[in-house]
């Protein structure tokens, strides 16, 4: 009987304690949200919230939160609350709290108390050591709540008592005037509050789980979920922001209807080379049913709406050139490495070289292109479309090779054996068994790789060049410009050896340029945002297609 009552009492206490811990988690979340709002200036730190001045209110909440967590820890230590703590909070938590308290006491000692280097170092070491002792030595319920609660409590007290008021500011001593920094409450308070909320929220989640294995599980999962959530949130905000800023200039003047768009002439000319005889000619004008000035125009003083068509054309040609170079080379090498070569020194060297090539910085590829390619296409070194294509092709190559190789390695050996058992030659096996089975992986890799190089700017600065404001007739017209000659090298194409522009490069140029009135661009800022949006859409659609292809094939082909 007694046992039953006792359990009931303990259960009652446990549920109250659980409610306290859950409330602490909720309060941490609220404080975190308030800190974010203050950081984005949605919440005024000088104003009032619910009738109370904001800074003392936040301070008071932090003090309450810290007290609640410490109370829970103490209750658990005195066995008033039934928990299941480990013997210690552990070295990881100990190290983290040591670091935090080292910084806090160090800053207070050096800046508020004005101690010298020796003084603040001693104080900081003392603070860090104390935090370590409190965290790592006692049982887990004290070790993980007291340092966290004390942190929130002391930060809260400073804000509550006006130690950091709306007019507070701080410049670290020892910074020269030309490189001075001043910290204001509008920066410090959101960061401090958000940080304390995270630390206390973690401690409260542990407490909610009753410490021990389950408590740690909850505390860690809280932080990890928050991390994943914020990564996605950052991504979403970035993309949404560019869309919001860029959509107006991009959509300006769009009209849909028969005959409103520009005219494209489709022409076929059959000419005998070297003899200026025209055998046969056909030309037909197509009028587009859509007029989309930002996409279809260049930059010119005559335009109503200026656009980025030449840059789009440049990007398309770059991608075509890079793919034409990298895909055959990469897939061919992957075939050799997986199907022909025996694993040994040679394949290892190639593997290391490919991975090294993959991580080589893009600007180094640019330097290489400038030194290796530019002097060899034209008599005097000149930036050109061809050099840009080849440089980007070199960048794409390791990506294609790595993904193609992975795709081929994942084709089961039974496939090859079955083909070989039919008496088919090696190459036939590769062509009709391995390549088709590996195709989805290769295609996905190529698409994702193209997405990466389509947004590459740094190599183009060094190898391709091009202007800032480009008119429509400066758009590269590669197909029309092939010329046959009787002397070597027999085929030339002046358009390929000419500088031209591309979307990422043009955005860079627009950032550098301050004014664009002479080219008919009234508002540089909107033009930049429009260009950024077009670039983002082009690149992200490659990614979207690549990822969608992969999902599709993954569902269809599962070898395992």
């Amino acid at each position: 009987m007694t046992g039953a009552t006792e359990t009931g009492v303990v259960r009652g206490r446990a549920s109250t304690a659980k409610t306290v811990a859950a409330a602490a988690v909720g309060l941490s979340a609220l404080l975190f949200a308030l800190a974010l709002a203050a950081g984005f200036e949605l919440l005024s730190l000088t104003g009032r919230l619910a009738g109370v001045p904001t800074i003392p209110l936040l301070g008071g909440l932090l003090v309450t939160l810290g007290a609640a967590v410490i109370a829970f820890g103490a209750g658990s230590r005195l066995e008033l609350v039934e928990t299941d703590p480990s013997r210690s909070a552990g070295l990881v938590a100990g190290t983290l709290f040591t670091g935090i308290w080292f910084v806090v006491t160090g800053l207070v000692a050096s800046q508020t108390l004005g101690l010298g280097t020796v003084g603040w170092l001693a104080a900081a070491s003392l603070g860090g050591a104390a935090a370590f002792a409190v965290t790592a030595l006692p049982r887990e319920d004290v070790g993980s709540t007291v340092p966290a609660g004390a942190l929130a409590g002391s930060v809260g007290l400073v804000m509550l008592t006006g130690g950091i008021g709306p007019d507070w500011s701080w410049s670290p001593a020892g910074f020269s005037d030309a490189q001075s920094v001043t910290v204001f409450p509008r920066v410090v308070i959101p960061i401090a509050v958000a940080f304390c909320a995270l630390v206390v929220g973690w401690a409260a989640a542990k407490a909610y789980g009753g410490f021990g294995a389950r408590g740690r599980h909850l505390g860690a999962y809280l932080l990890i979920y928050l991390n994943a959530g914020s990564i996605i949130a950052v991504l979403f905000v970035l993309v949404a922001f560019v869309f919001a800023k860029g959509i107006d200039p991009v959509m300006a003047g769009v009209t849909v209807g028969l005959g409103v768009g520009p005219t494209t002439t489709l022409a076929v000319d059959l000419v005998i080379p070297f003899a200026d005889v025209r055998l046969f000619g056909l030309s037909y004008d197509v009028v587009w049913p859509v007029s989309w000035p930002f996409v279809m125009n260049g930059a010119s003083i005559l335009n109503d709406v200026n656009g980025v068509w030449p840059a789009i054309v440049g990007t398309i040609w770059l991608v075509v050139g890079a793919v034409a170079l990298a895909v055959p080379l990469g897939v061919g090498s992957a075939i050799f490495l997986t199907e022909y070569a025996e694993r040994g020194r040679f394949t290892q060297v190639v593997e290391v070289a490919t991975n090294a090539l993959w991580s080589t910085p893009s600007i180094v590829f640019g330097l290489f292109g400038a030194a290796f390619l530019l002097p060899r296409f034209t008599p005097t070194p000149k930036k050109s479309l061809l050099a840009g294509m080849i440089t980007l092709g070199f960048m794409l190559l390791p990506l294609v090779l790595i993904t193609a190789r992975e795709a081929m390695l994942s084709v089961p050996d039974e496939y090859r054996d079955a083909s070989a058992a039919l008496g088919v030659s090696k190459w036939q096996t590769v062509r009709s068994v391995v390549l088709p089975a590996a195709m989805p992986g290769v295609v996905t890799g190529v698409i994702l790789g193209v997405g990466r190089i389509a947004g590459e700017t740094a190599p183009l600065i060094l190898t391709m060049g091009g202007g800032t404001f480009v008119t429509v007739d400066q758009a590269a017209s590669v197909v029309d410009s092939f010329q046959l000659t009787l002397s070597p090298p027999f085929v030339t194409n002046p358009e390929l050896t000419q500088a031209t522009t591309a979307l990422p490069y043009q955005l860079y140029q627009l950032i550098l340029a301050n004014v664009g009135q002479s080219s008919g661009i009234e508002n540089m800022d909107t033009f930049r945002w429009g260009t950024a949006l077009v670039l983002l859409v082009v690149v992200l659609s490659f990614y979207a297609i690549g990822i969608a292809t992969r999902q599709y094939f993954r569902r269809k082909l599962d070898y395992e």
């Binding site: 910074f175 030309a178 490189q179 001075s180 001043t182 294995a213 740690r216 599980h217 990890i224 979920y225 991390n227 994943a228 990564i231 991504l235 970035l238 080379l329 061919g332 090498s333 050799f336 022909y340 070569a341 190639v350 070289a353 090294a356 090539l357 991580s359 080589t360 910085p361 893009s362 600007i363 180094v364 590829f365 330097l367 030194a371 290796f372 060899r376 030659s425 190459w427 590769v430 994702l448 389509a454 947004g455 700017t457 600065i461 060049g465 002397s487 070597p488 090298p489 990422p504 955005l507 860079y508 950032i511 800022d525 930049r528 950024a532 670039l535 983002l536 690149v539 992200l540 990614y543």
Partner: protein, 375 residues
């Protein structure tokens, strides 16, 4: 004794190679050998012709193509093997060519900035002992230290951002997330890698930069701290995907063994998964560091572009120049020695990232051996 053994060893090796080659020649038909010879000569000729800017390059390439075409019709099996081998060799050659050409272009600056060390003249020494970047007036000085300082600060901040967040996200993706959430988060991380660096840079330049200058009351615009944060965000996907692979490669049997003992998921992760995958995860962080070092555009448009060293050294609120941004900024307007000095910056970048890449590969290979992976 040892040397003679080595010599005979080497000779035996060479003899065996020679014998295999002879056997190959004897077994292969004459026309295939001839076509192969033409092909090799054509390829070499094309390469040399390209290097010396000969107009006959295309002739050599045409000869190579003709040889391949002939071989394709008559000896498909052999040709496929030879052509894919040639492709593999040329892919690996690119790395050598990159190093050769940037070193070649960097030589004048290295020679100009020679310094004495223990009585020996070391090319380029002064670039790493002085702190002056002064390309305009005599005596011209091209110190790399301001840029190295900037790159180090940016990389430290970026690693602090990308390392912990990336590893946590990788744990989330491979161990924690329910399948439906994973399907949503994983492409999200990939798309984060897909946003072009110039767009990140533009956001940093147009929005973040002015905001930071206002918040901290700075003189002018450009801080290492926020460049580091942006670069860290860009290096994050690299860390996530490589660390996720490493965590995934921990055998399921190890984890289920632990779970069968009645541990929580998190205990299994800290006690089994993370220690087993530790080397792979550190390789991921190393690769992320490499990405951060090499990131160009965000640094170029967000920094001040004047090679100076911040005072005091840890003042991350003022950002001047990194190794990458100095190249992107000054190439084109620079000539002569200054242009050559930019190639020195390229060498420093290339070599440090190469070392990181090879280091992380060694760590990964070690991990695969330890876990008894499939290969």
């Amino acid at each position: 004794m040892g040397t003679t053994d080595d010599a005979t060893d080497w000779q035996r090796h060479a003899n065996r190679r020679l014998a295999t080659a002879r056997e190959f020649v004897a077994e292969t038909e004459t026309d295939a050998l001839a076509a192969g010879l033409v092909g090799v000569l054509g390829l070499l000729g094309g390469f040399v012709g390209f290097l010396v800017t000969s107009q006959y390059t295309s002739v050599a390439v045409a000869a190579f193509l003709a040889a391949v075409g002939y071989g394709w019709v008559r000896h498909r099996e052999l040709t496929a093997r030879a052509v894919t081998l040639a492709m593999t060799v040329s892919t690996s050659l690119i790395l050598v060519l990159i190093l050769a050409f940037i070193v070649l272009e960097a030589l004048p600056a290295l020679r100009y900035e020679s310094g004495e060390l223990l009585g020996v003249s070391v090319p380029g020494l002064r670039m790493f002992t002085g702190t002056d970047w002064n390309p305009a007036t005599n005596p011209k000085r091209f110190s790399m230290l301001p840029m190295i300082h900037g790159t180090v600060l940016v990389t430290i901040v970026a690693t602090l951002v990308a390392g912990p967040l990336g590893v946590a996200a990788a744990l989330f993706l491979s161990e924690i997330a329910p399948p439906r959430v994973r399907e949503f988060v994983k492409p999200g991380v990939e798309i984060l890698a897909g946003i072009p660096s110039i767009v990140y840079g533009f956001l940093g330049f147009a929005i973040l930069g002015p905001w930071v200058s206002d918040q901290f009351d700075l003189v002018g615009q450009g801080t290492y701290l926020f460049v580091g944060i942006v670069v860290g965000l860009m290096a994050l996907p690299t860390v996530v995907s490589v660390a996720e692979d490493a965590i995934d490669s921990v055998p399921e049997s190890m984890k289920s063994g632990s779970l069968a003992m009645g541990t929580t998921d998190w205990q299994t992760m800290t006690a089994i998964t993370i220690p087993a995958a530790f080397s792979g995860v550190s390789a991921a962080v190393l690769l992320g560091v490499g990405r951060a070092i090499g990131e160009t555009m965000a640094a170029t448009v967000m920094l001040r572009n004047e090679p100076t060293i911040a005072e005091p050294l840890y003042n991350v609120f003022y950002g001047f120049e990194t190794l990458t941004s100095v190249i992107a900024n000054k190439y084109g307007s620079a000539t002569g020695l200054q242009e050559s000095a930019l190639f020195v910056a390229g060498i420093v970048l290339f070599v440090s990232v190469l070392a990181l890449s090879i280091g992380s590969q060694l760590i990964e290979a070690h991990m695969h051996r330890k876990l008894g992976g499939s290969e």
